[in-house]
Symmetry: C2
Subunit: 207 residues, 2 copies
Amino acid sequence: MDKNLKRMATMQRMQVTGLELFYKNGYYNTSVDDILKELNLSKGAFYYHFDSKEDFLIEILDNLLARKVYSMLIEPIEGHDNPLHLITNCFENALETAVHNEMDCGFILNNLINEFRGKNEAITRRLNEILQIWEVNLVSAIQKGKFNGHIDRHVDAEGIALFLMSSYMGVRTLMAEDAPSARKYRFMAQLKQYFKSLEVKHSPLKA
Amino acid sequence: MDKNLKRMATMQRMQVTGLELFYKNGYYNTSVDDILKELNLSKGAFYYHFDSKEDFLIEILDNLLARKVYSMLIEPIEGHDNPLHLITNCFENALETAVHNEMDCGFILNNLINEFRGKNEAITRRLNEILQIWEVNLVSAIQKGKFNGHIDRHVDAEGIALFLMSSYMGVRTLMAEDAPSARKYRFMAQLKQYFKSLEVKHSPLKA
DNA sequence: ACTTCAACAAACCGCCCGGTCGGTTTAAGT
DNA sequence: ACTTAAACCGACCGGGCGGTTTGTTGAAGT
């Protein structure tokens, strides 16, 4: 179906620039016209493809944001290597991407969550679902590390996951404000320091 | 001057509810009318006391937010005790306050920074100033701890401060989303774990 | 008693946004 | 060549927002 192809292409274009502008300016401060102006399209085109601005956002969350989080933060930590190494590399790459992003506006999931909290239940739930998927995968990676002998058996996997998510979300906000490269470097150093305390304790007498 | 007293009282009331609503709904999604409706005041009263909505916000940042951050996050870590203990207690209290806050909407400084990034230079600068004051005080507390022998001399004070600010900002966002009490508990446990790795290394042979 | 002015009320203005709708173009099917 | 429907255009509407202006009140000063 050629028609269907064009339809999908146009919808995709709209969603991509929509996500960009929502990221840059927030949802409520981005008008539908702003998005359409960027694409040289009209309002008729928009409301032909989407029911409403909110429906548009939901499509973006499911089609683009969820996949983005998965490919950048979840998929890289899958595998059977030491999860602390996997997570370190994953964060390193994610932060490096942020550093090189000319217009870094922080962690978009964090921004959207803050914007919709207490204002739109449906959107908030969807955003939290993405967070939960991230959390679940972190926890299971850590537990796998405990089982495989990479991580101390006594640590709290849920606690570690929460600490990782918190610090990542926070540093992304701070990196967007000032000195992204320096802050990334400092953050990664402290993360490694924290991870060292989670490794299995080798007998000090044996060393 | 009785007049001046009343003037100050009205302005204070406006600022307090203004901060509340900006915290709950964000700045751009809170209309001046919303604030005035809450106080049964008119727009005339508002624009008699303040030049604009932006001027109003700046007054709030200087008069209320900066002091709030100082009293909750900076003043408690001043002193000559072990700064790791001081920071632990400070975070414990700050997070406990958030847990008991019926309408916790995360860390307001984080929310405002995300909302104004790339949109209002003057506001963003003021918000960053508050962050910097926090950072400077964290750094100096840690350095004092290094000097006093509470903290390992080889650690990077700026890195620790950044890591603390990041994780705090992040966990406040996550606590506002779900399971605040459990998340606070888990977070504090991991923070203590991290802090352990920063303590002065006692000779293992001596123990 | 009269003036003065801070303090507030309320109507109003211009702008912008989300959403609608009738009309036009494009292209596939026959 | 004609039909049909998808894809798109752009003027328009209702409502809400930030901000202004004009008018009213009430207490202090003389």
